[in-house]
């Protein structure tokens, strides 16, 4: 059984009767059991997957209507609710939390007969970019198991690139889909803010986070977007995309498109291999008829500080609900005064979540808000103005997804400020609400480098077309697992 096929090829193969959903699921589970001990991409595996696949095969055989996924195994980042299954957010705080309802993306994929093969590892509450802050231990990069796979949706990216599923859903608050996709040589997508419902996604920083697919190909991302985008009455930040078909016209190319190269995202400190790969990608796009020139977004220099200030503030508020009364681990209330009870409950947060909660209390507090939170909001506004100006002149923007190569596990964990700077190229899309994609582009000394493209809001379709064009200029080696 070839587990390395794309989502679209899988659908074709099942439709043609060449493979069954059950056989594919069984082979996928077998592969997971043989490899996940080493990679730790998944926090839980769906024990009922085979039965679900069998039911889908029955529907296919009897000629009943079958959803567009035809039993495709998909992993889901463990911060999205699947009814009656564990959703831990990679936190001890939610170790035993059974979701009472389906997230909207889950309902939509269920309708399309997807099989949720497992819940993917992540940094606790999606706070981090290496998966090292998972309370259950880090995932490993399949390209080099000594390296981080990136994060926070590291488990999603590992599971896709190590063939433990065909596609995955992650969430991207500051690059959490694109960063691990880049580090693991997968496609990672952060849609226009509001394109995908966040209902059932455990909140971290509501004003900027989005769910996004991780896939093997750009076409597979378009395929998933066709199923999971659109208005949702349960999330009033969703936007009406008029049932856009992201797959149609995906081979339109980039001829005549104007692409701005973001100067500040290739600044000092960017790894020379990453600079070289980005220049190569630009040449390839020019070879396809795009017109590329440098553009400056001055506020990018301040974007990481603004991003952490805003997200910590929102996280501080969102995480206040973990008081051990509504959520949390179980211990008796007897003998506790209210504050000490909650303090004890909150000891179940890991170190990074705890730090961000403290920051989230500090930066918007009386006496400090003007210096931190309000200034961060002003940077966000000015950055948005700058990028909107850029999009008057350019159809797309380009930059490396991450300025450095995947680094060793443990290398940066004790230095939060050096970790901050890994986010420098990805947070702009979140702060401004723009869509962005990481396309696998090259392998340097055995480690993947992804290239990021950005487009204006609601130009997701054009962005996917450009990403598809870039993807076709390279042939990458297979992951060495």
């Amino acid at each position: 059984m070839n587990l390395k096929i794309s989502a679209l090829d899988y659908v074709q193969e099942v439709q043609n009767g060449n493979i069954s959903a059950e056989d594919f699921t069984a082979a996928t589970l077998e592969h997971i059991h043989s490899i996940d001990e080493k990679l730790h991409a998944l926090l839980s595996v769906n024990d009922d997957a085979i039965n679900q696949a069998r039911e889908i095969d029955k529907k296919i055989k009897s000629g009943d209507k079958v959803g567009a996924c035809f039993g495709m195994p998909i992993s889901i980042k463990d911060n999205m609710c699947i009814k009656n299954s564990k959703t831990t957010c990679a936190s001890k705080m939610l170790e035993n939390f059974i979701a009472p309802y389906d997230a909207t993306v889950i309902s939509k994929l269920k309708e399309q007969d997807a099989i949720f093969i497992g819940k993917a590892n992540m940094d606790e509450f999606a706070m981090g970019l290496t998966t090292e802050f998972s309370a259950y231990g880090p995932s490993k990069n399949p390209w080099n198991v000594d390296c981080t796979p990136g994060g926070s949706s590291g488990g999603s990216a590992v599971s896709v690139s190590a063939f433990e599923c065909i596609a995955s859903l992650g969430s991207d608050t500051g690059g959490s889909v694109r960063n691990p996709a880049s580090f693991c040589s997968a496609v990672g997508y952060k849609p226009t803010y509001g394109l995908i419902s966040r209902y059932g996604l455990i909140s971290y920083a509501n004003s900027i986070e989005q769910i996004g697919p991780v896939t093997r190909t750009v076409k597979d991302t378009a395929f998933l977007l066709n199923m999971i985008t659109g208005l949702d009455p349960n999330d009033n930040t969703t936007v009406d995309n008029k049932n856009e078909d992201y797959l149609s016209g995906i081979d339109s190319g980039v001829e005549g498109k104007k692409i701005g190269i973001i100067k500040e995202m290739m600044a000092e400190g960017t790894d020379p291999a990453v600079v070289s790969a980005t220049k190569d990608a630009i040449s390839k796009l020019e070879g396809l008829g795009a017109i590329c020139e440098e553009v400056s977004l001055d506020m990018v220099k301040y974007s990481v500080a603004a991003y952490y200030t805003i997200t910590a503030t929102e996280a501080g508020s969102n995480l206040a609900r973990y008081d051990n009364l509504r959520y949390g681990y179980d211990f008796s209330v007897e003998g506790y005064e209210f504050n000490s009870y909650i303090q004890k409950a909150r000891k179940n947060f890991g170190p990074e979540v705890t730090r961000r909660m403290i920051i989230g209390g500090f930066v918007p507090s009386a006496g400090h808000a003007g210096k931190y939170f309000l200034k961060a909001l002003k940077v966000k506004s000015k950055l948005t103005k700058e990028i909107n100006e850029a999009f008057k002149k350019y159809d797309l923007l380009i930059a490396p997804t991450v300025p450095i190569l995947p680094f060793k596990l443990g290398e940066k964990i004790d230095d939060p400020v050096s970790l901050f700077l890994v986010d420098i190229n990805t947070v702009t899309a979140n702060l401004t609400g723009k869509p962005a994609i990481s396309v696998p582009f090259t392998i340097s000394n055995g480690l993947p480098i992804g290239i990021q493209l950005l487009a204006d809001s609601m130009n997701d379709k054009m962005l996917l077309q450009a990403a598809r064009a870039l993807e076709q200029t390279v042939k990458l080696p297979e992951v060495p697992i």
Partner: protein, 88 residues
């Protein structure tokens, strides 16, 4: 410059107990210090843009039945009430 006392005061207000000084206060201190870069952004005169959502665009405020009793899932549900720690 932020002081450690200020950080510890906020941690207390957030109902977070800080045992390991190095793990929390020092790192939080370094993180907040990094945010000083915002002072150089020159955005003092910038307006903060907020997205306004008209009330008519919100979901209708009506009861939507749920097929399970969520209250029963609470840790300390006692049949007719939820046991909470005493307020001092």
């Amino acid at each position: 410059m932020v002081t450690e006392e200020e950080i510890e005061k906020v941690a207390k207000l957030m109902k977070i107990e800080v045992d390991d000084h190095k793990e929390y206060v020092d790192k939080v201190h370094a993180m907040i210090d990094y945010f000083d870069i915002l002072d150089s952004a020159g955005v003092e005169d910038e307006e903060i843009s907020m997205q306004e959502i008209p009330i008519t665009a919100l979901r209708e405020d009506k009861h939507i039945p749920f097929d399970e009793k969520l209250i029963e899932k609470l840790n300390h549900y006692k049949g007719t009430y939820v046991r909470a720690p005493k307020m001092s």
